[in-house]
């Protein structure tokens, strides 16, 4: 190891990484940047946990841009198996190859057998793809949705960044990919997997950072609109909703209002576009009963 790992040229500290991430439109705080810095430098996966919409998945995309590497995404779901995550044999092509070989005059069973189980008949699924592509950023999204058998298997791959195919031997990554594992914490992921990773708990960003994020994501929006929408979203987060809005919702809201040509947030427009931030009928009713006007005024005054 050269001691720098995957760190791009010119990044000497977490603060430098904050700058690089900002250039590609991701505003990270110090903790997250430190985690990413360590992950890149020491080839460790990053385990990001937090509420939906705090930017876990976006981080992987931003890292891919910073490293100028392809993003390889593995979306986890219940029942996901090695053949969907790691590799699979291309059986139809193997059969076809066998038939063609048989038809040839100089049919040599041993040679054909060897060809059949060679790399070219192996379909690389995301994990193997990431090991074979360097550099690359591997996003293992929502690992908490997969079942625990899958975790054990993932642990094996992430521990030494190699995969053993019985028919073929061990495939090892020359340079391990940068790995971001995300979880919404619908269940506890096993400690062994977390122990392999740097664990970072993401929180909703503080007000100024969120305004900056909205401004970056919705450049057409006026400064006033950005600040007011963010303030209102913060007020909604304190309003005891079933699903408090995340950053993604704040951005959606700002986009919706900008599309309507609103210079700022007013109660009428807010009520009309509430669907962009509040996603449950119970929450809509709650926000209505709270008197959107008063909420906004308070939020904007506090901003």
């Amino acid at each position: 190891m050269d001691g720098r790992g995957l760190l791009p040229v010119g990044v000497e500290s977490p603060a430098d990484l904050v700058g690089r991430l900002a250039e590609v439109g991701y505003l990270a705080d110090e903790g997250l940047a430190t985690a990413a810095y360590l992950g890149l430098r020491l080839h460790r996966p990053l385990f990001c946990e937090g509420e939906a919409g705090v930017g876990k998945t976006e981080l992987a995309k931003a890292l891919a841009s910073v490293l100028d590497a392809p993003l390889i995404r593995l979306q986890c779901y219940e029942g996901i198996e090695a053949s969907q995550a790691l590799y699979d044999w291309d059986f139809p092509r193997q059969l076809l190859h066998l038939r063609t070989a048989e038809a040839a005059a100089d049919f040599d069973p041993t040679a054909v057998e060897q060809e059949l189980w060679s790399r070219r008949f192996l379909i690389a699924r995301p994990l193997l793809q990431a090991l074979e592509t360097s550099p690359s950023v591997l996003l293992v999204d929502e690992v908490d949705r997969a079942d625990d058998e899958f975790e054990a298997f993932l642990l094996e791959v992430l521990s030494d960044f190699s995969v053993t195919v019985p028919e073929l031997g061990t495939l090892r990554a020359e340079v391990p990919p940068a790995v971001v594992v995300t979880s919404n914490r619908t269940r506890d992921v096993h400690d062994a997997l977390k122990r392999r990773c740097y664990y970072h708990w993401l929180e909703h960003p503080e007000f100024d950072r969120e305004v900056a994020i909205v401004r970056l994501r919705v450049p057409e929006a006026s400064d006033r609109l950005c600040a007011e929408v963010t303030a209102a979203a913060h007020a909604l987060r304190d309003a005891d909703l079933l699903k408090p809005p995340g950053i993604a919702e704040t951005v959606d809201w700002a986009q919706a209002l900008t599309a309507l040509g609103a210079p700022g947030l007013d109660p009428g427009l807010a009520a009309a576009t509430l669907g962009a931030v509040v996603k449950y009928r119970e929450d809509v009713e709650r926000v209505r009963s709270l008197d959107v006007g008063a909420l906004l005024t308070r939020a904007v005054m506090g901003a």
């Binding site: 977490p14 020491l42 699979d88 059969l95 269940r187 740097y198 664990y199």
Partner: protein, 409 residues
């Protein structure tokens, strides 16, 4: 790597601790803040005694991270430790406290964490003493023989209300409880398993067989969906009105979490909601009970079932813990607050969960009628209503959760 601080002259200007400023370089300073090895080992020990599982591997990882950063900066040490030694949002307040105490100063935190993540300092309260702790060292095989010998006498206490048992009977009951398990009813999984009977074709195995026979047609191989138990969520009321039963129910919960392959979550309801699933981990019931007692700050307080249920749904249930699960509420349904709140939350729960089972130990008493205000409001959303006051009743509960026995509310 340890020469890193030297690579950056600017680092010297950023020394946080006065002691580390006396020409010390990373890795060699004896100052409490400056030496990453000392800090991390200290942090690891302190966190270990605070209940976090921190092994030497993690401490080594923390040191490696600190050295890769700037170990002379407090914030870098803070993050190096936090990223490697914590594995759970619940760990963070403990980590912050330990870090602040150890390095004497404020935690470089960005802003105050939301209230609900901050846990009260655990107060150790004695739970009703039950069973001999001599059994601790017993091997599994040993426990088995004891269990068999005790089986016949257990039969007689199966139907006794657990609050009426003597110490010896309680000890036997605890052993019997440890043998129970609580898998949820089964459901088809998305995973497929090989099957000898016709169903969906398994392309992998079929083509493998084809290849083996040189491409000649063979009998297709089949798969079927495998079945898995549904996750189980136990919400155990530990308020004052449940004091006689809480210990037994928690032991039952411990036995339930022991079963492999079943996802079981356990929460206690008192004046506040506490997740005790992690405390339940480990084979020894006595140790688990000790850990739970230390983690639950509100034994024998009053209950605010509706509010706590809402907190459970907001923080856990809605995100996935209750989805498709069998949720068992173990409570007598005495609600201090407005029963309407409980009713509304029960409705939410019923929409998320596969089944809602209410287990009320008081229902086992003669002349019981579900008149407690909270209970009356909750019952319309309950699929099964059972008593759970005795071993036999808990066994019945296990059967209902497993979907073997169905009994209406």
């Amino acid at each position: 790597m340890s020469g890193r601080a030297g690579d950056r002259p600017a680092a010297a200007a950023r020394l946080v601790s006065a002691g580390a400023g006396s020409g010390a370089t990373a890795g060699h300073t004896t100052d409490g803040v400056g030496d990453p090895v000392r800090v991390m080992v200290g942090l690891g020990r302190a966190l270990d005694s605070a209940g976090l599982r921190v092994g030497p591997d993690r401490v080594a990882e923390a040191v490696r991270a600190a050295v890769a950063l700037d170990p002379t900066r407090r914030t870098d040490l803070y993050w190096a430790g936090r990223l490697t030694l914590c594995a759970n949002p619940d760990d963070l307040p403990k980590y912050d406290a330990v870090f602040a105490a150890l390095t004497a100063g404020d935690v470089p935190r960005l802003r105050p964490r939301p209230q609900h993540l901050v846990r009260a300092v655990p107060v150790t309260l004695a739970i009703p003493d039950a069973g001999d702790s001599d059994d601790d060292e017993e091997t599994e095989a040993g426990a088995d023989t004891v269990l068999r010998a005790a089986a016949s006498s257990v039969e007689t206490l199966r139907h006794k209300d657990v609050t009426t048992l003597g110490a010896a009977e309680r000890a036997r009951l605890d052993q019997a409880l440890a043998a129970l398990s609580l898998p949820g009813e089964s459901r088809p999984s998305r995973r497929r398993r090989p099957s000898p009977h016709p169903g969906a074709v398994d392309p992998r195995r079929t083509v493998r067989a084809l290849l083996r026979s040189g491409g000649e047609p063979v009998r297709p191989r089949w798969t079927r969906r495998s079945v898995r138990p549904r996750p189980v969520v136990l919400l155990v009321d530990v308020s004052g009105s449940m004091s006689g039963y809480a210990d037994v129910l928690l032991r039952f919960a411990h036995a339930a979490t022991r079963r492999r392959g079943v996802r079981t979550e356990v929460f206690t309801l008192g004046t506040r909601l506490t997740r005790v699933t992690r405390e339940m981990a480990g084979p020894d019931p006595e140790r688990a009970m000790g850990a739970v007692a230390a983690a639950v700050p509100d034994w024998s307080g009053g209950t605010r079932l509706g509010l706590l249920l809402r907190e459970f749904l907001d923080r856990w249930g809605q995100r996935g813990v209750a989805r498709g699960a069998v949720v068992v509420i173990m409570s007598d349904g005495w609600e201090r607050d407005d029963p309407a709140v409980l009713g509304a939350q029960m409705r939410r729960l019923a929409l998320l969960a596969r089944r809602v089972v209410w287990c009320n130990p008081r229902a086992g008493r003669a002349g019981f009628a579900p008149l407690a205000g909270g209970l009356a409001a909750a019952l319309p959303y309950v699929d099964d209503f059972v008593s759970g006051h005795s071993l036999a009743a808990l066994e019945q509960l296990a059967r209902i959760v497993a979907g073997v026995e169905v009994r209406g509310a």
